[in-house]
Point group: C2
Chain length 199, copies 2
DNA sequence: CGTCGCATTGATATCGCTCAAATCCGGTGG
DNA sequence: CCACCGGATTTGAGCGATATCAATGCGACG
């Protein structure tokens, strides 16, 4: 689980260092200079912005096996803070070395771009999903987008987590799922969903 | 308005071609081979997936001055269709030439990555905003994120469009904005907003 | 002057959130 | 093997925020 991505060039591997984080611990502060891009080895890290109301808005989220804070790599200073949500370990990649590697190593540049591009795809899909009104629309959008070739969708998270992903409360998800099943729109076996074809 | 991005290398400019689209016209079909990445010169293009229910789910949206379908550049076939929502003009960049340019032209590769990365940032910010419950929270999140250094926010779109961006109905936006003004949380002059600091 | 799109306000219906309680299920320890 | 526990899952009841429907004002533009 603590493996670096296999496409990292040796220059980056050598220059990087691991940062263990306990739950709640800060990775970087707002207004700090951007000096690293991170790869999440384990756990979960979130980018937070303090809103005038005093509440913290989550801007971004990084899970195991994802880059984190790569969207700040073109800015001099962070405009948000980052803290670990769970006990985590991240790999800190120095920005200078990263830029050099992107320029020198075509294969790495391609893989890096690929990661960012796929992340963009995922986020865009989420945006459109969250824009939908109604729980059942969001559920169907998700299943339609994330289903494999056979039309099934194996969730590896509890439904209560899925609810958050969909921007719903767990109770609403349970209820709506039930209705969709009754109407034959989806079939379900534990955490294996299937969106049924038809009208 | 129909200007290509200025960082396009000449090889791409030469190899590209403009595609005018009427409202509702298809740009590419699902399962078609991925042969281009697009730059939206004018209008709006959306990526659609037909849901089993028969409805179309919007996966992605491209506006003027944005790349479109770049997230498919690592896939052999499109898994969604694309159609213009308004009369539009897009610049079609051949994928082969694009890849070559990314490999050969470091500056272009950097600018391209920059575009994708900033797009990712924008989408991530939107995701977290749409996750917020309540119209006023979303409004404040937006203003807090998009405000310039002086804390002001000049909207270049009608409020009704802003409402869609926020995942709200226009009426709700008008009303909530009114309440926020009355409470002194925001000041407003036509389409110039300002989020007031304080509790 | 008429029309059209945007902005605004009112009244009402609806949907999802909240609080609450019961059940299920996997894991743990006796 | 069984009792127990905590988290996940269900289901119920009621409330509040937002969508929806409707009507009016308003400014741009032909």
């Amino acid at each position: 689980m603590l493996k670096s991505p296999d496409f990292l060039p040796s220059t980056l591997t050598v220059a990087s260092h691991r940062v263990p984080l306990s739950a709640g611990q800060a990775l970087f502060a707002c207004n700090a200079p951007v000096e690293h891009v991170y790869w999440v080895l384990r756990g979960e890290v979130v980018a937070l912005r303090r809103m005038p109301s005093g509440r913290d808005a989550v801007l971004m989220r990084g899970h195991s096996g994802e880059f984190f804070a790569e969207s700040s790599m073109y800015m001099p200073f962070y405009d948000c803070a980052a803290v670990a949500r769970k006990p985590s370990v991240v790999l800190a990649l120095p920005l200078r070395t990263l830029r050099q590697a992107l320029a020198d190593d075509g294969h790495f540049a391609d893989m890096f771009l690929r990661n960012v591009v796929l992340g963009l795809r995922r986020q865009s899909s989420r945006v459109e999903r969250l824009r939908l009104r109604g729980a059942s629309e969001r559920i169907q959008h998700y299943l339609s987008c994330e289903a494999s070739a056979d039309g099934c969708c194996q969730l590896d998270i509890p439904l209560s987590e899925w609810a958050l992903e969909l921007g719903l409360e767990p109770e609403t998800l349970y209820r709506t799922l039930r209705v969709l099943e009754e109407n034959g729109v989806v079939t379900r076996d534990k955490q294996r969903m299937r969106l049924c074809t038809g009208t």
